[in-house]
């Protein structure tokens, strides 16, 4: 274990990790009444950025307008604080297990450039899909399943099912 920590390849047992993540999610529901999320923080940031650069455009837009009202500041959003916590938590864990390092992670069979192109395209698709489904793997699928929401199960099956199919299609372009 010590050797693994030194080389930065030590990970929790997946079932232990799952139980711990589940307990964090349970505590979140018990304290705040809602689950954990991630993509919502991106949305808040985009809304805030558009509002700053082009306020008139943001007011007129039927989508940004949903999240803009005078008393509600888009960045003063629960999920933005939660994501800042998540960044700090992941950094601490990376520090503890010797994984802090700037690098582009990719298969030896592909170039860094190719990996980054695929990461960018994947991110764009995830950004679009998460707005459409009103949540991502955390907010819609994981938190939704925890409270037995039908939409959580539908989104989870759609994400994982599609990812399995497309992983075989993209097999040659291994990540």
């Amino acid at each position: 274990m010590k050797k693994k920590i030194q080389s930065g390849t030590y990970y929790l047992n997946p079932y232990l990790g799952g139980v711990l993540l589940g307990l964090v999610l349970l505590a979140t529901f018990y304290i705040t009444g809602r689950g954990l999320g991630a993509s919502g923080a991106i949305k808040s940031t985009v809304v805030e950025a558009v509002k700053t650069v082009a306020p008139a455009h943001a007011e007129q837009s039927s989508y940004y307008g949903k999240f803009l009202s005078d008393d509600k500041h888009p960045m003063n959003n629960w999920l933005v604080f939660e994501v800042m916590g998540a960044l700090a938590g992941a950094f601490l864990s990376g520090l503890l297990f010797n994984r802090l390092k700037f690098k582009v992670e990719h298969s030896p069979k592909i170039t860094s450039r190719r990996r980054l192109m695929f990461a960018l395209s994947g991110g764009i698709l995830f950004g679009i899909g998460s707005q459409l489904a009103k949540g991502c793997t955390s907010g819609a699928a994981l938190s939704g399943m925890a409270v037995l929401a039908l939409g959580g199960f539908i989104t989870m099956i759609a994400i994982f099912g599609t990812a399995f199919v497309f992983a075989w299609i993209f097999k040659k372009n291994k990540i």
């Binding site: 998460s130 009103k134 599609t162």
Partner: protein
């Protein structure tokens, strides 16, 4: 104290963001320590060489689900006060499919890309930049898809309502299905040669 604590006013609303930071840290630590900061580890589930995502994700969902049912049974939480996301069938399916394609191309989802970038993964940073672009594209083209976005609204419906079975029975079936999946995954892992990353 019957939860959820903040909506029931046991804890003042002002503490909401403090808990957001603390709970978010717990989220980030458990994700990173489970290996979700590595795109190659995450994508292993879909290529069949590392099923860590499958194991962590379903164990977490089941732990939280059983915990909430138990808390509700013991009278420690008011289930009706929990946020149940509304189900929009069309947008949940189409959005999920788009995210699935993005997942297999990018190797991350939003939460895991934050973990990756927190420890210096530049591919995770690129993925996150992509998400901002994606959300912006969605917002700008929203009028074109607004009708589909709002269609098929079933409201805050639970899967147990639509299946017509009790929560306890559904929870039991889901646990059995997950254990079956974990068993198959561990058999597959034993057959596949180790991938180094």
């Amino acid at each position: 104290m019957v939860g959820p604590l903040i909506p029931m006013n046991y804890i003042p609303q002002a503490w909401d963001n403090v808990f957001a930071l603390i709970l978010g840290m717990g989220f980030g630590i458990t994700l990173e320590a489970s290996g979700f900061s590595s795109s190659r580890k995450i994508i292993g589930t879909f290529f069949g060489y590392d099923f860590v995502v499958l194991k962590v994700f379903f164990t977490a969902a089941i732990t939280a689900m059983l915990g909430l049912l138990y808390f509700s049974y013991m009278g420690w939480i008011d289930y009706s006060m929990l946020f149940i996301q509304p189900t929009f069938v069309a947008s949940a399916v189409i959005g999920g499919i788009i995210m699935g394609i993005g997942f297999s191309m990018g190797g991350y989802c939003p939460g895991t890309s934050f973990c990756g970038l927190a420890i210096g993964k530049l591919d995770a940073l690129t993925f996150t930049v992509g998400m901002f672009v994606g959300v912006f594209i969605f917002s700008e083209t929203f009028p074109l898809i607004e009708k589909m976005y709002n269609s098929g609204n079933l409201g805050n419906v639970l899967i147990t309502d639509s299946l017509g079975i009790s929560k306890a029975l559904f929870a039991f079936l889901l646990v059995v299905a997950a254990v079956g999946m974990f068993f198959v995954a561990s058999r597959l892992e034993r057959r596949i040669k180790k991938v180094e990353y």
